[in-house]
Amino acid sequence: MTTENNTWKLAEAYLNKSLNAQEVENLEQLIADNKNFAQEFQEVSNMLLSLKNNAAQKQFQQNLSNIKTQIKEEEQDAPRKISLRLHYLRTAAVAAGVALLASLGTNLWNNKTESNTSKYSELRKVRTEIEGIKQSQSRIIKVLDNKANKPPIENKYSGTGFALSNDGYIVTNYHVTEGADSLYIQTRDGNYYKASTVSFDANADIAILKVESKKFKFSKQGTIPYSFAPSKSGLGERIFTLGYPQDEIVYSEGYISSRNGYLGDSMQYRLELPAEPGQSGAPVIDANGTVIGIVTGKESKSVGTTYAVSSNTMLRMLKNIPQSNSINLPKTSKLGKMSRSQQIEKIQDFTCVVNVYK
C-alpha cells in the first residue's frame, strides 16, 4: 500500500473517530513534525468531509422534494366545495353592500357644501370605507355553476384577462384573483393553462399573471395586435370591449363618459358601456385598436355605467415590478385601418377567461 493510501486510511479512521488514544497522539505528533504531511492530511480530510457532506445534502434535498410532491398531491385530493350555506351568505353580503353603497352616496352629496379640505378627507374616508363593498359587490365577479370538463375543482369565480406579451403575461383585475388558491386561464381555443400571480396592485385593482408553462404562446404569429395608451384619452371617445360573461366571448361598445372614475378616482375612467359579471379584467379599446383601460366594476344602480382602470396606471405599475424587463409589451397597434369585425378577429386570440379557485 502506498503512503498516499495510508493517509486516506488514517484520515478516514480519524474522522470516524475509530482511532484509539495512542493512535491519535501519534497522528498529532506527525502533523506537528511534518509540514508536508500536515497539509496533505488537511486536504485529504477536507476531501472526505466534502464528499460526505455533499452526499448528505443531496439526500436531504431529495427528501425535501419528495415531501413537496407529497403535500401537493394531498392538496389536490382535498375536496373543495363551497357549501350551499356559504353560497347564500355571499349573496346576502352582496345585498347588504348595495344598501350601504346607496347611503354613502347620499352622505357625500349632503357634505358638498363643506370646505374643500374637509370634503377631500371625507372623500378619502368614504373611499376606504367602501373598499370592502367594492370588492364584494360593485365589481363584477361571477359565481359560476358547476360544469363538466373543467379542472378538477368545482365552484369558482371567473373574470376576463388579456395578453401583455405573447409568451403568457396577462393583465386582469386584482379583485378577480384575490384570495385565489389556484388560477387557470382558458384561451379562445378552449384549452386550460395554469397561471400564477406575478404581481398586483390592490389599490389600482390590477393583477399581472403569468402562464406557468414555458412553451405557452397566445398565438403562433407572435405579435399582439393592440398597443397600450401611455396617457389618458379624452371625454366622449368611442370604445369597445371583449370579455367573457359566458363561455363565449362577448362584444360591447360605448364611450368615455368621464375622465375620472368611481368617486373621482383619477386612476380610472367612467364609461357608458354595458358590462356583465365575468367581464372584470376585459380590455377597453379605442377605435384605433389602442387599449385605454381595463374593465374593473360597474355601478349597481344603473345598467350602463362601468368603470375601467386606465392603461397609463397599469403601465406605471408595470415599470415598478421586478419582472418589468421580461415583459415585452407590444409597441404599436396593427388595427388602425381595419373594420371593427376584423379588429375583433385579431384581438380575440389574445383574450382569455381567468378561472379562480378558492
Binding site: 498516499e4 486516506w8 486510511k9 455533499n54 443531496k58 439526500q59 427528501n63 403535500i71
Partner: protein, 194 residues
Amino acid sequence: MQLSLLKEHQLLEGIANNDRKITEQVYRDNYKQVQSWVRSRGGSADDGDDVFQEAMTILFQKSQNEEFRLSCKIGTYLVAVAKYIWYKKLQLQNRRPDFLPFDSGEEDANDNRAYEDDVKVQEEREVHFEHLNAAMEELGEPCRSLLKAFYNENKSMQDIAGLFGYTNPDNAKTQKYKCLTRLKKLFYAAQVNK
C-alpha cells in the same frame, strides 16, 4: 417552556441526521408561511417553495455542526433566512433596489443582516460542491461509480467488492483510496486553474 425547547432541540437533531419524518414535520409546520410571504412580495408559489427549500438546506448545514444552537425557534429562523434569500433574488434581478433588506423599512430589516453570513456560506458551499461534482464527472469509470456507491448509495465495502468484481473488501478499499487520490488531484488542479 423547557418542554418546547427540548422539542426544538430534537427537531434540529432529526434534521441533522437526515430523519425523513422530522424533516417532514418541520416542512409542514413552516412552508405555508414562507410561501404566502413570498407571494405577497411578487413571487409565485413555486418561488416560495424554492426559497423555503433553500432555507431548509441552510438549516440542515448549520445543524451539521454539533456546536450549533439556535437562538430562536426553528420556524422563526427559516422565515428570516427565506426572506433574506428572496430579497437577495430580487436584488440580483436588479430591478428593485428599494427592495433591499437593509433599507426596506421592514420591521425585520436588521434581523436579516444576521442571516447574511449563513446565506453566504451556503453559496460558497454550493460552488465548492459544483467543483467537486465536476471533478467527479472527469474521474471516469470505475472510480466514479465506486465512489458514488460508497458515498451516495451508502453501500458497504463488502457490497462494493461484489459489485465491482474485487476479490475481497480490502482490494476494493485500496481501489477506493486510489480513486480518492485521483479525485483530489482533479479537484485541486481545477482550483489552481481558476
